[in-house]
């Protein structure tokens, strides 16, 4: 399948600041790709360049087979990071206007907007002014404005920011629905949890450079997990910890709240250790901790010399995730 977006050696500077440098990536058609990266990494700049809102200083871009998104604007749906509504305009009129601007036939535009409002559980708001809507409803309306013309490619910039858990889930469902309909979707977020739940592909940008570009499965395989959470029947006693530490292949044991976190030595055989653990002490639960995107993210960011603290990444809109080993820089 041809790629929906191909970028080669993209470079953009704003005055003395290098926003994006030598960025190469391909977004295959039909994929659901998440662009992640810390604040100021160059995500929005990259997306704006894809949309031809700003132009790269050098490098090549191909969007839906054309050198510029301008030529296929009506086939692209774009939800910008800086998004808003006309405060005084009525919701129905706004959606109809956006549909017309995106080349939907003027006769069909108003039918489409009311259909979409029905589908997204917003019936009866068409006559309301945009400023009367709650933030969550406004986000939905903006999402509708981005997809009302049924685009082949959907680009969503910071789509989850400012949403409560309920609307966050709704937005995920809307995106999944679009993905099932065969659309190529590119979205940026710094909420790792959302990315992990949705994407089949991850593009990670840091300081304007690509640090990761692969599928979620590849990430899991590449960042081999070496952490086991063990919950002993005796409530993680010191005795049990001592016993487990002496096992071959176990590097360290850290007691936690009712459980023990075991770190394995390099090259340890995981199934074998599972057996040994069960023999060593009576267990309530033994779990191989799956590597999270957040772990990978922090590893990569810290490996590149950035001293990012965890709190910076766990921004208000990212739900807390149980993870026991993010504080330490792990293997790279």
């Amino acid at each position: 399948m041809p790629d929906a977006i191909v970028a080669r050696k993209l470079r953009k500077t704003f005055g003395p600041k290098l926003a994006v440098s030598d960025l190469d990536f391909n977004i295959p058609q039909g994929s659901l790709c998440g662009v992640i990266g810390p604040n100021g990494a160059g995500k929005t700049t990259t997306i704006r360049m894809i949309m031809s809102i700003i132009f790269p200083d050098s490098g090549e871009l191909s969007v839906l087979g054309k050198p510029s998104a301008v030529e296929s604007k009506d086939r692209i749906g774009y939800l910008p990071e800086e998004r808003g509504l006309y405060k005084k305009m009525r919701v129905g009129a706004f959606l109809t206007y956006m549909a017309k601007l995106k080349g939907v036939d003027p006769g069909a535009a108003s039918k489409k907007s009311s259909d979409w409002l029905e589908r997204t559980d917003l019936p009866g708001v068409a006559r309301k002014r945009c400023e009367e809507l709650s933030k969550g409803m406004q986000q939905k309306v903006q999402f509708i404005a981005a997809v009302i013309h049924e685009p082949e490619l959907l680009i969503l910039d910071e789509v989850f920011s400012g949403l409560d858990p309920v609307n966050r889930r709704l937005m995920r469902e809307l995106i999944e629905e679009q993905s099932r309909a065969g659309r190529t979707i590119l979205f940026s977020t710094h909420g790792m949890y959302d990315a992990e739940q949705l994407c089949d592909r991850i593009l990670m940008i840091h300081r304007g450079q690509k640090v990761l570009d692969c599928t979620l499965g590849e990430i899991r395989a590449r960042f081999d997990p070496r952490t086991i959470v063990a919950e002993t029947l005796d409530g993680a006693s010191i005795d049990a910890a001592e016993r487990l530490r002496s096992l071959p292949g176990v590097e360290s044991v850290e007691p936690g709240k009712g459980s023990l976190t075991l770190r394995l030595a390099e090259g340890a055989d995981v199934p074998e250790i599972f057996g040994r653990l069960a023999l060593a002490c009576p267990m309530r639960r033994i779990e191989l901790k799956q590597v999270t995107l957040e772990d990978v993210f922090i590893d990569l960011v810290q490996a590149s010399g950035e001293t990012l603290r965890r709190e910076d990444l766990q921004s208000a809109d990212a739900p807390p995730r149980p993870s026991g080993r993010a504080e330490e820089p792990a293997h790279a």
Binding site: I53, P80, K100
Partner: protein, 487 residues
């Protein structure tokens, strides 16, 4: 192209279909017309004629009879006839210039006359010269002039003619008031007093005052020994001292024309105001909507569907229609007004063509600047700093209006007609003036206008493209110039 039209249409509708616009811009002339019509209607309503008597205390002697004769039926009728004749003559003269039929002129004269002539039937009641003034006027306060049931001969006014009003000897003058003897042999006469009941129409009060004053002057003339010895009547003396009226004629190549001065003077002002108002209203809305789109962050959503250029052109075209609508409404009201009052002849139809032409030039210059300023800032407050060049263009026509309309073909006026930005306004003033500018200057000024439109639109497009997505510190003028040179 279609997208640009969609943008323009939304811009137009969202501006025009607001309460603020409909009330503020469109309803204003309607309100003015309603109020003016209402006032005209109210003043034309026939009022009940006031009847009553004017009491006279003639301390000077010889005035009371003259007042009586001035209030007599014959005298009042004679006065009305004179006014009617004068007004009709004036109306016919204007009608001849305006090409209106005489019948219409007669009708207009009748209307005008009914406004001028008296609205009261008053009798004169002569009191003894030694009557106590305070007693005589005491009853006036209780008279209700609008009470139909009151005695039709009740006293509604009291005129007191002091001795000094006729004989200006020092003693009498000094005793009558503050009027002392004048200088150089001429002496000053004392003033008189008229007391009226409450709520007597000011026109009637004035009518009483004029008649009493005229009677006093007649009495003075008749009492003067020099006039007596010359054997002259008061009428002859009045005829001698009456000042003649001058006829004002403007000499033009097509013949001498009687000027209709005031209106002719107002036309350049009216056209400049029309131009300025329509251009500025559209421009101001453009700035507001652009800043609003940025502040509400709807800008980038729009840019996902249209290019910055399409957006800017659409917005400018939408507001151009707003400006044209205002121009249409106001100039329509003006032309309509002139047509109703038969003054169309003072308006050259070519001026309306020039008005529209210069509207386009002025609007595109202002609109480009407004769009650029609006796109570069994130809040209305910040736009003020970028408004200074626009303010200059707005303020200069006000300052230039007087010197240019006084001497439309001076070197100063000619130079100003070629200054980009203000030339549409200057040219409009000059075209409306009494001396039209030399023919070659008009196309040159238009050409300069078109070139400046192209330049402003080009610069604005560059600023707009960069500005629409810039948030944060508002750029200053120097930054804007850099943006223009950058892209």
């Amino acid at each position: 192209m279609l997208k640009t039209i969609h943008v323009a249409w939304r811009e137009f509708c969202s501006t025009v279909l607001t309460k603020g616009f409909i009330i503020g811009v469109l309803m204003t002339p309607v309100f003015i017309l309603i109020v003016a019509g209402g006032i005209a209607l109210v003043t034309r309503l026939p009022k009940p004629r006031l009847t009553g008597s004017v009491a006279v205390i003639d301390q000077a002697g010889g005035v009371a009879e003259r007042i009586q004769s001035r209030f007599s039926k014959e005298a009042v009728e004679r006065e009305h006839r004179a006014i009617t004749e004068k007004v009709t003559a004036a109306m016919k003269e204007k009608a001849a210039i305006a090409g209106v039929s005489e019948q219409q002129a007669d009708m207009a004269a009748g209307l005008a006359t009914s406004q001028l002539i008296g609205k009261a039937d008053l009798a004169v009641e002569v009191l003894a010269p030694d009557t106590d003034v305070s007693k005589a006027k005491a009853g006036l306060a209780d008279v209700d002039v609008h009470d139909k049931a009151r005695d039709p001969n009740a006293r509604i006014a009291l005129a007191v003619v002091p001795l000094g009003a006729i004989r200006a000897d020092d003693k009498a003058a000094g005793g009558a008031g503050d009027n002392g003897a004048g200088e150089g042999g001429t002496k000053k006469y004392a003033d008189f007093e008229v007391f009226t009941a409450p709520r007597v129409d000011p026109d009637i009060q004035r009518g009483i005052e004029i008649k009493v004053a005229a009677a006093i002057v007649d009495a003075r003339i008749a009492a003067d020994p020099r006039v007596q010895s010359a054997g002259l009547t008061p009428e002859q003396v009045r005829a001698l001292v009456s000042e003649p009226e001058g006829k004002m004629l403007t000499v033009t190549k097509t013949g001498d024309k009687k000027g209709i001065g005031e209106l002719q003077m107002l036309i350049p002002m009216a056209f400049m105001l029309l131009l300025l108002m329509s251009v500025m209203t559209g421009g101001q809305y453009l700035l507001t909507t652009t800043v609003e789109e940025k502040a509400s962050r709807v800008m980038e959503v729009l840019l996902s569907a249209v290019s910055p250029m399409q957006l800017m052109v659409g917005k400018i075209c939408g507001q151009m229609c707003v400006g044209l609508l205002i121009l249409l409404v106001y100039s329509g009201a003006g032309v309509g007004g002139l047509a109703v009052f038969k003054y169309m002849h003072i308006l050259n139809p070519m001026l309306l063509v020039y008005l529209v032409l210069f509207f386009f030039i002025a609007f595109f210059i202002i609109a480009s600047m407004m769009a650029a300023a609006g796109s570069a800032v994130s809040e209305m407050r910040e736009a003020q700093t970028l408004m200074s060049p626009i303010m200059v263009i707005i303020m200069l026509p006000w300052l230039l209006w007087m010197p240019i309309s006084r001497s439309p073909n001076s070197l100063f006026s000619t130079v100003m007609s070629f200054v980009p930005g203000i030339n549409p306004f200057v040219m409009m003033i000059r075209l409306c003036g009494s001396e039209p500018p030399p023919t070659w200057q008009i196309p040159v000024s238009i050409l300069i206008g078109l070139l400046s439109v192209l330049f402003c639109a080009w610069a604005a497009a560059k600023i707009f493209r960069i500005g629409v997505l810039m948030y944060g510190k508002p750029p200053n003028l120097r930054t804007l110039i850099r943006w223009v040179r950058m892209a």
